[in-house]
């Protein structure tokens, strides 16, 4: 039963190594045997899924704005622009100035050359704190700070796309993406908001972004493998990817009143924080699956599994235990996009619902086919280290 305060998805903006835009992603992912785009040499021994070539001008008209951002912010601003275009909101002053925004963000790119220079100099110096002051005061580009601040992705979206109803940035890896979607949906359901831009971006092609995983040994090394097949391989199982995912969530009656195409309805969004050190992850995943109000019958699941050994095997076990579920681990084809992972999963779920077709298996060895029309699709993000979330996306 639909209700006027339902949350519906009316805009999707995607960028990954596969390309950009919802149509491109659907076409590529619906193609059986689609191969991932991999970059195995630049960051060896790590493999990443690199950004495609992007003409930033298409979504960020002013060169001056582009210069104020590093790649992560440009990528997010770009993906947000695609979503706004897709929803017919971009350039509409009234809709933009009343639009709320929740962005899931980490941090931006440091200056690798300056850092490397300081580290090299530190080998011959005992007064490292003085060295830091000496180098940072003279070598840092003043505006780089703004390109690094977490909330400045949202800030740039306000500047470039004029989204100014409200602006909130959530931090905390996949959990930030989950909480962003969950909070946005709750605001719409309660009547606090009529239309919200929500999403995130991750630019992995930077040593600090790899370090963020590797300080706990989370990255997969050696030859690439599909996301479900990395247990026991060298390294920690995560292959990261650059990408971004933004959604326009809208109150059903708001979308209907302006005659917009609706991709799908966003059903329950559930989240949790298992205390994994106490062995709570299996029970937490099971609890979320119960809370997600899964329909009877067979179900397509778009899994955000990262490949991280413990989290991925727990999720796989839970999904495998339900014979009705056919899972698709999209990190096989895009890599793990951290804060953007959950919004990306929800977007892929919405596309399948909208196109009335399931994705073929992304990994023939471990995934099973899904026949028929997926009226509901589950999206998951079980954090590589912490935090968990799921959403059920239903036919509009």
């Amino acid at each position: 039963m639909s209700s006027p305060h339902d949350v519906v998805i009316t805009g999707i903006g995607l960028v990954s190594s596969l390309g950009e835009g919802p149509d491109t992603h659907w076409q590529k992912l619906a193609q059986p045997g689609q191969k991932p785009v991999l970059e195995a040499s630049r960051f060896a021994p790590y493999t990443v899924h690199p950004l495609p070539e992007i003409d930033w001008n298409l979504q960020i008209a002013k060169r001056g704005d582009q210069r104020q951002m590093e790649t992560w912010q440009r990528l997010g601003t770009y993906a947000a622009g695609i979503a706004l275009d897709d929803a017919g909101i971009k350039g509409n002053d009234e809709l933009c100035t009343t639009m709320d925004m929740v962005v899931a963000a980490g941090g931006g790119e440091r200056d690798e050359a300056v850092d490397a220079d300081i580290l090299a100099a530190s080998e011959g110096r005992n007064d490292r704190d003085v060295l830091l002051n000496e180098k940072l005061t003279t070598e840092l580009r003043p505006t780089l700070f703004l390109a690094q601040l977490s909330n400045l992705l949202a800030g740039n979206i306000s500047i470039v796309h004029k989204v100014t109803g409200s602006s909130r940035t959530f931090m905390g890896e996949e959990g930030a993406g989950v909480a962003a979607v969950e909070t946005a949906a709750a605001r719409i359901r309660s009547g606090q908001s009529t239309h919200i831009l929500v999403g995130g971006a991750f630019q992995t092609e930077h040593s600090d972004m790899l370090l963020g995983y590797e300080l706990a040994g989370y990255l997969h090394r050696g030859p690439w493998k599909p996301v479900w097949q990395r247990q026991g391989a060298e390294g920690g199982g995560v292959v990261s990817g650059s990408g971004g995912a933004f959604l326009v969530l809208e109150q059903r009656e708001h979308a209907a009143s302006r005659g917009r195409k609706i991709y799908a309805e966003l059903g329950p969004v559930v989240s949790g924080r298992a205390r994994r050190a106490r062995g709570e992850l299996d029970a937490e995943i099971a609890l979320l699956l119960r809370q997600a109000a899964l329909p009877d019958g067979k179900l397509l699941a778009i899994s955000g599994a990262s490949g991280a050994h413990a989290a991925t095997s727990a999720e796989k076990a839970a999904l495998d235990a339900n014979a009705a579920i056919s899972a698709r681990g999209f990190a096989t084809l895009t890599g793990h996009m951290k804060e953007a992972q959950f919004p990306f999963a929800v977007a892929l779920a919405a596309l399948a619902v909208d196109r009335k077709a399931a994705y073929p298996v992304f990994d023939a060895a471990t995934e099973k086919p899904f026949e028929g029309i997926p009226a509901s699709v589950l999206a998951t993000a079980i954090g590589y280290h912490q935090f968990e979330g799921m959403a059920l996306v239903n036919a509009a």
């Binding site: 690798e112 840092l140 800030g155 500047i159 709750a186 990255l219 949790g272 924080r273």
Partner: protein, 423 residues
């Protein structure tokens, strides 16, 4: 029977616990005594060498066990200390809070001391390659945890037994106010009876100082640190980087009274509006800040004439104080000349991600104590932005309602309206 719903039919949100840490000390009692006696917490930097730095003063919190252990551990300790005070005052079980957590905290980065230690623990190759190789050999998660944006909230959630997925947020210098706003909204939506909202910032590292310094945002009034932060003065020359934390236990009024909790104040309205003008500067007409103030008043159901006092953002930068004057005088009209408006930052500096929460805590105490803390260092008023800033000495006053402003880089504008009593 008390009315538990506000003018829009939503649950009224009460404050039942308050905690605060600033450079003036730990806890409400020490902070309030210092704040109302016009004492400054700004002092010379001792945490790291100040060679080559233009700014050599700050409002760092130097007296906690984690003060010299890096931004992540200090931010955690600041958050925990303030939250412990708030939860204790609310009379709740400090290990089983039973509501969600909203944490405003600074973005995290690998600390330079850790970066140096990792790098110099090996000699093979160089740069990022070496760091990554050393990183994957680490046996402990301590350093890793300091680089995860969700880790501080995760630890706090363990410590206080909060429910569900904790939210860590950043809206730059408005973050503390946003954490409170998220708690208020969760209670109003009926998702929970209580929420723990914390703003904490222990990120005053050398690099943070240098970054703000390169943007010409900081005061360089090094010779007389206590005089450096001078909001609304003609010779104001930037903000003073500081650390601190504020925590509020928010509770639906109905749930608070049902369990016999003392109500310390009411969080009656929140308003926000993003600015699309520039990354660090406000739209010249002040319209986003004006809209945020008006949105907070409307959310609280109060008219312009019903605000007794403004707890200003008042950073002491030339730009902020001018824009804040413009937006307040636009909203409040002629009345602005007779409204007390003071800046806590004149004494504690700018606690960044914590500021909105710290200043909400002080706003609530202002109402409870019927004393308005002064704006100190107001010796040279800026004639272009004349306000009653409660200059230099506290003022006794009955304050029923407070507007607290928070404005930040990235076009963030968030305002809170608090009241002493439920209306």
């Amino acid at each position: 029977m008390a009315n538990f719903r506000d003018h829009m039919g939503r649950p009224i949100v009460a404050v039942t616990g308050i905690g605060v840490v600033t450079s003036l000390g730990v806890g409400k009692s020490d902070n309030w005594a210092a704040l109302t006696s016009g004492k400054s917490g700004i002092h010379p930097i001792t945490r790291f060498p100040v060679d080559h730095l233009n700014t050599r003063i700050s409002g760092m919190v130097d007296f906690l066990p984690s003060s010299s252990r890096g931004a992540s551990l200090l931010t955690y300790e600041l958050a925990e200390t303030a939250a412990q005070e708030a939860v204790g005052e609310a009379g709740l079980n400090s290990g089983d809070f039973g509501g969600p957590l909203f944490l405003a905290s600074p973005p995290v980065e690998l600390d330079w001391h850790d970066r140096f230690a990792l790098y110099n623990s090996d000699k093979q190759d160089s740069g990022a390659e070496r760091l990554l190789r050393v990183a994957r050999g680490l046996k402990e998660l301590d350093v890793f945890e300091t680089t995860q944006f969700g880790s501080i909230a995760d630890r706090l959630a363990d410590r206080f037994g909060t429910r569900g997925l904790p939210i860590t947020l950043s809206t730059a210098c408005a973050s503390g106010a946003t954490a409170i706003q998220l708690g208020v909204e969760a209670i109003r939506r009926g998702e929970c009876d209580r929420a723990l909202s914390i703003g904490a910032d222990g990120s005053a590292t050398a690099e943070a100082l240098i970054r703000f310094s390169l943007l010409s945002a900081l005061s360089t009034h090094n010779d007389d640190p206590e005089k450096a932060s001078k909001p609304f003065s003609k010779d104001r020359d930037g903000f003073v980087l500081a650390e601190g934390s504020g925590a509020l236990v928010l509770e639906s009024l109905e749930a608070a009274l049902a369990r016999g909790a003392a109500v310390l104040g009411i969080l009656s309205g929140c308003g926000e509006k993003a600015d699309d003008f520039h990354r660090t500067r406000s739209k010249p007409d002040g319209s986003p800040a004006i809209a945020a103030v008006r949105a907070a008043l409307a959310d609280a159901g109060l008219g312009e004439d019903e605000i007794d006092y403004v707890n200003a953002h008042g950073t002491s930068t030339p730009e902020n104080d001018k824009m804040e004057h413009l937006s307040l005088s636009t909203v409040f009209g002629e009345r602005i000349g007779s409204m007390p408006i003071s800046s806590n930052k004149s004494m504690i500096g700018h606690t960044l991600s914590a500021a909105g929460a710290v200043e909400a805590a002080f706003s609530l105490m202002t109402m409870r104590e019927s004393v308005i803390p002064p704006t100190i260092n107001y010796d040279n008023p800026d004639p272009a932005i004349m306000l009653d800033v409660v200059p230099n000495k506290k003022r006794d006053a009955q304050v029923r309602t407070v507007l607290s402003n928070s404005f930040g880089f990235g076009g963030q504008n968030t305002c809170l309206v608090m009241a002493r009593e439920p209306v």
